[in-house]
């Protein structure tokens, strides 16, 4: 007999399931809109030029493979903080922050979650927007926190339920933790406008909530890194000492290299040092120290003026292609003769779009048209190309007319 007889089979990952089914499909017109990775207009993965250049530069330096410090590559963490906070940020310049390298967005979120579990004694409750990225809930749960929700997405309008969000947030018990998507909300693509962010900042301040920002798409949402970080920077300027998780998976295309960072804005540099020491104590029994490759590439890009410039152009290029696909999808739907209001497709931002399609309609799209997406009607706009946007519009019109 085995020690593991009672171990249940884990449920299959819903998003992976989409890709598996897609792979098995033999229809030449098939489309994978479940993929959470950018694709170029030929539907291929895109390795950024600045990444290739950075890799060549790194190779020529012939560096050794000695362990990184527990907190990661210093040039990377400093550059990550500066990218998020802005070079003129008082918090950045005064050094009242600590940034540690994390295993992309997930690893950074998890470090933060564990840190809060251990040191934020005021509450166990983390408030997520409804809906949120599917992995947020298990990350915080495994870290020992409890999950709550605030209204966010309005399925009737396919946009932000701002009054619902404000109402719910105003009732959150003081000193709870609230998680906000900095830009390009996943999975809805619905972001607050700047005036709305201002109101959100005021209410979380009033409720004395600890703000946890998840920024996985800086630059990738609007094409402008400063614009995408506006909410993060505004909150800090309002005196809200946030914690922040960053990912370079999408905006630098470094997915499998796992480049990310976790930041805590502190009262002063001394507090930052103490927080850093505790973060290291959390990281060491998880994986000792982080992987170098992605961090080195990201650091090279952020810290080399020419490469940084090229990166900004390339990330804008990716964002622009996504925005153009949104526009083309809407115009193609009109051409198909759809009478529905598809404005939300262009109002939403980032990689994902909540189409508003119902599960039965999604099922038909999969079965009849080989267009694959998750049951909630979420599509990855990154999977749309000028070559297949017409087919997609046609398919959507067929199941919604």
């Amino acid at each position: 007999s085995s020690w593991w007889s009672h171990v249940e089979m884990g449920p299959p990952d819903p998003i992976l399931g989409v890709t598996e089914a897609y792979k098995r499909d033999t229809n030449s017109k098939k489309m994978n809109l479940g993929v959470g990775a950018y694709r170029d207009d030929n539907g291929k993965p895109y390795v950024l030029n600045c990444v290739r250049k950075a890799e060549a530069m790194i190779a020529s330096k012939k560096m050794d493979k000695e362990y990184l410090p527990i907190g990661g590559l210093a040039d990377f963490t400093r550059a990550s903080a500066e990218l998020a906070l802005g070079e003129n940020s008082e918090a950045f310049k005064s050094g009242r922050y600590v940034t540690v390298q994390g295993i992309s967005g997930t690893g950074s979120l998890r470090i933060g979650a564990n840190f809060l579990q251990r040191f934020f004694k005021a509450s166990r409750d983390v408030y997520l927007p409804k809906p949120s990225w599917g992995n947020h809930t298990p990350i915080f749960r495994d870290a020992g926190m409890q999950l709550q929700a605030y209204r966010y997405y309005d399925p009737k309008t396919c946009s932000l339920d701002f009054s619902g969000a404000m109402e719910d947030i105003s009732k959150i018990p003081e000193k709870s933790i609230i998680l906000l998507h900095a830009c390009a909300h996943n999975p809805t693509g619905v972001d607050p406008r700047q005036e709305q962010w201002k109101e959100l900042a005021a209410i979380v301040k009033k409720r004395n909530l600890l703000v946890y920002f998840d920024m996985a798409y800086q630059g990738f949402a609007s094409g402008d890194i400063n614009r995408d970080a506006w909410a993060v920077r505004y909150f800090i300027e309002q005196g809200i000492n946030i914690v922040l998780s960053q990912s370079f998976a999408k905006n630098m295309g470094l997915y499998g290299e796992r480049a990310g960072a976790f930041t805590v804005i502190c009262s002063d540099a001394d507090e930052a040092k103490r927080v850093e020491s505790q973060l290291k104590i959390l990281i060491r029994p998880m994986y000792s120290n982080p992987p170098v490759n992605g961090a080195r590439i990201a650091s090279m890009i952020l810290n080399t003026p020419d490469l940084r410039k090229e990166w900004l152009t390339e990330v804008k290029g990716m964002a622009d292609r996504i925005i153009s696909m949104r526009t083309q999808l809407v115009s193609n739907l009109k051409k198909e003769g759809s009478s529905h209001n598809w404005q939300h497709i262009t109002d939403q931002i980032g990689m994902f779009c909540f189409t508003g399609l119902k599960p039965e309609q999604v099922e038909r799209l999969i079965k009849e048209f080989s267009v694959y997406m998750t049951k909630d009607g979420r599509i990855s706009v990154a999977g749309v190309t000028s070559g297949n946007v017409g087919y997609l519009a046609h398919a959507i019109h067929q199941v919604t007319k």
């Binding site: 171990v7 884990g10 050794d64």
Partner: protein, 374 residues
């Protein structure tokens, strides 16, 4: 970390070659790996630990989880055991760590949620060797189903390993008392220069029918320290059990790091799956192991030539990167303050720090410390 005779870090020549191959391969990109890691890496890594002819592999009852170094593999294994071993979420299951051990072992299992972490006798300071009786005694009296962290080879920090005969005795007790073996294998190949020899204990346990975990690190034997290349090998009773275990480990990975870093795994997978590169790698590993073995024998012969009080055969009987010299804290302080030789208060030295240039100085300094300080 390993150092050359010039006291420098060493990127293995085979690694440099493979990195160049990877850099020149324009078909490669930076897409996400699967949650459990690069398939070619996982299969090859477990094959290295268990052997090409492993019955467990043939019987399809081996699973692998690519992890962030050996630490990451330990953590995934520990998290899984806390959730699924000896009941559900049984945080009271005792976890036994050798006295002494790598200090991070405690933290890994504690942060994974285990509440009862104990030590088992291991190092006998008086005779400077393995306290086998103490070890076996602890196993006899450990609660049934306790988890034991075993160092597969090159015990850290003592450098003292059980002999094959002693491993057989350990396995017999563990089988009889239903204790769970969790191997930590951070030095396969690096210890003796032979992959097979350094994996003997793990393979013996498998041949004895144990279900076990083995956390593997490729930091030292591939010199890939900062790429964080590790693998958790799971050996189960049958394929069905292993499949369910892996499906649950996938859930744990998903909330810890989602999917592992690709660069280091690619290097290892490419090397292990090419007969030519594999041979080249084994040669590089032997180079490192041989240098350490040479430093051990050179240090011992110098101490014996100097007539340094005490016996020094433990220097060559111990194996791997570290050696428990037997120096006491006062003597260690003398080494640090007066001779500027840095070692741990436990008397542990890193053999990789020795070079042909500093052997004489180190030997003389140990001699002074032992004769001047009691």
């Amino acid at each position: 970390a390993y150092r050359t005779d010039e006291g420098q870090p060493w990127v293995l020549p085979v690694v440099k070659k493979v990195e160049q191959m990877i850099a020149n391969d324009n078909s490669l990109n930076h897409e996400y790996l699967p949650i459990l890691g690069l398939p070619e890496f996982r299969a090859n890594a477990s094959r290295i630990a268990l052997g090409d002819d492993s019955p467990a592999i043939k019987e399809n009852r081996v699973g692998s989880v690519q992890s962030l170094g050996g630490t990451g593999a330990l953590r995934i294994g520990a998290e899984f055991l806390r959730r699924w071993y000896n009941g559900n979420n049984n945080t009271a299951t005792p976890v036994y760590v050798s006295a002494p051990s790598w200090e991070n072992h405690n933290s890994v299992f504690m942060d994974a949620g285990f509440k009862d972490i104990r030590t088992y006798h291991y190092w006998d300071a008086a005779k400077r060797g393995l306290d086998l009786q103490g070890l076996l005694n602890d196993m006899e009296h450990a609660p049934e189903f306790s988890i034991f962290i075993l160092h597969a080879c090159a015990h850290n920090p003592t450098g003292t390993d059980p002999t094959p005969e002693q491993w057989k005795q350990i396995a017999a007790v563990m089988k009889r008392r239903s204790l769970f073996p969790f191997f930590d294998s951070a030095y396969q190949g690096f210890a003796s220069g032979s992959l097979e020899k350094d994996a003997w204990a793990v393979r013996y346990f498998v041949s004895e029918g144990f279900e076990l975990f083995c956390a593997q690190s490729f930091s030292k034997n591939f010199g890939l320290y900062n790429e964080r290349v590790g693998n958790l090998t799971v050996v189960g009773k049958d394929a069905d059990n292993v499949q369910r275990v892996l499906s649950q480990m996938e859930k744990i990975v998903r909330t810890t790091w989602s999917n592992p870093p690709s660069q280091g795994a690619r290097i290892v997978a490419t090397t292990l799956s090419s007969p030519q590169l594999f041979d080249e790698w084994k040669g590089n590993v032997k180079t490192m192991a041989d240098r350490v073995l040479l430093m051990r024998s050179e240090l011992r012969s110098r101490l014996e030539a100097l007539g340094t009080p005490g016996t020094w055969n433990h220097i060559t009987e111990q194996i791997g990167m570290f050696s428990f010299t037997g120096l006491n804290p006062k003597q260690v302080e003398y080494m640090i303050k007066e001779k500027h030789i840095y070692l741990m208060a436990s008397g542990r030295i890193n053999m990789c720090g020795l070079t042909t240039k500093n052997l004489d100085y180190v030997a003389k300094s140990i001699h002074e410390a032992v004769t001047k300080i009691q």
